[in-house]
């Protein structure tokens, strides 16, 4: 765990110092699971006045391996509507998968990527096959080979 915990300790110190607007740390107890809230700052009507909660799960090999990042669904934190976000909170984003991950990414950069993924979205909809995926998926997000069918969103 040394590698992951030292790196996360560095990140945490930086996060406690400052975070970009619209990103807040909720909890970071230990180096296995962190919660962060994100908001979309521009006036995108799909996400206006809403806050979304992200759960980060780190393996001992972080940052060589990507963290598992999902949106949580709670009473006041919905899963954002997006053609690449399933209603169970699983996110289809190349940088979070084995293929697109780079160990120079970090918690802050991931939050910013997700923020901008929401900012640029105009489709108030779920991915194709959402219901079936949510009902049948038993795999961990990182093991899913998403088919990046539409790179325009």
């Amino acid at each position: 765990m040394a590698f992951a915990s030292k790196r996360l300790g560095k990140e945490l110190a930086k996060i406690h110092g400052s975070l970009p607007p619209g990103i807040t740390l909720v909890t970071a107890e230990g180096f296995q699971e962190w919660l962060l809230d994100i908001q979309v700052l521009d006036a995108n009507p799909i996400y206006m006045n809403k806050t979304f909660r992200l759960k980060f799960k780190f393996s001992p090999s972080y940052p060589i391996e990507p963290p598992e990042v999902t949106f949580l669904n709670t009473a006041d934190r919905p899963v954002p509507m997006h053609p690449h976000i399933y209603s169970n909170g699983i996110i289809c984003l190349d940088l979070l998968g084995q293929q697109g991950w780079s160990p120079v990414q970090n918690v802050e950069s991931i939050c910013m990527s997700l923020q901008s993924m929401l900012t640029g979205n105009t489709k108030n909809e779920r991915p194709e096959g959402d219901e079936q995926f949510v009902a049948s998926n038993r795999r961990r997000p990182r093991d899913i080979d998403f088919y990046y069918h539409d790179n325009t969103v």
């Binding site: 590698f3 790196r7 990140e11 940052p63 060589i64 391996e65 084995q98 780079s102 160990p103 120079v104």
Partner: protein, 103 residues
């Protein structure tokens, strides 16, 4: 007045001879510090600069390159990561000894 020096203590500092004052992108520790697995900086925990111009602790970039998913690419620019002498295999060539000894 004549002064006779009986004893003197030399103190030296060193730093890696790289242009920028930066951190290793993988472990986020300053280049003058060690990777998370080492205790002493310097020869025991060297830096490796790729042909693409990006540097990392050798131990850090090794961890990444041995992952199949890295496809041998630099984490920064995704070009093929090659050691300075173009050996093809990353991490065979390390930076030279700590430079810029200042006494």
């Amino acid at each position: 007045m004549k002064v006779k020096i009986r004893k003197w203590n030399a103190v030296a500092t060193w730093r890696w001879d790289i242009p920028e004052d930066d951190v290793c992108g993988i472990c986020q520790v300053h280049f003058d510090g060690t990777c998370p697995k080492c205790t002493y900086p310097g020869d025991d925990c060297k830096l490796l600069s790729g042909k693409c111009g990006h540097s990392f602790h050798e131990h850090c970039i090794d961890e990444w390159i041995k992952q199949e998913t890295s496809k041998g690419q630099c984490p920064m620019c995704r070009q093929k990561f090659e050691g300075p002498e173009g050996t093809g295999a990353a991490a065979n060539e390390t930076m030279e000894d700590p430079a810029d000894m200042e006494v």
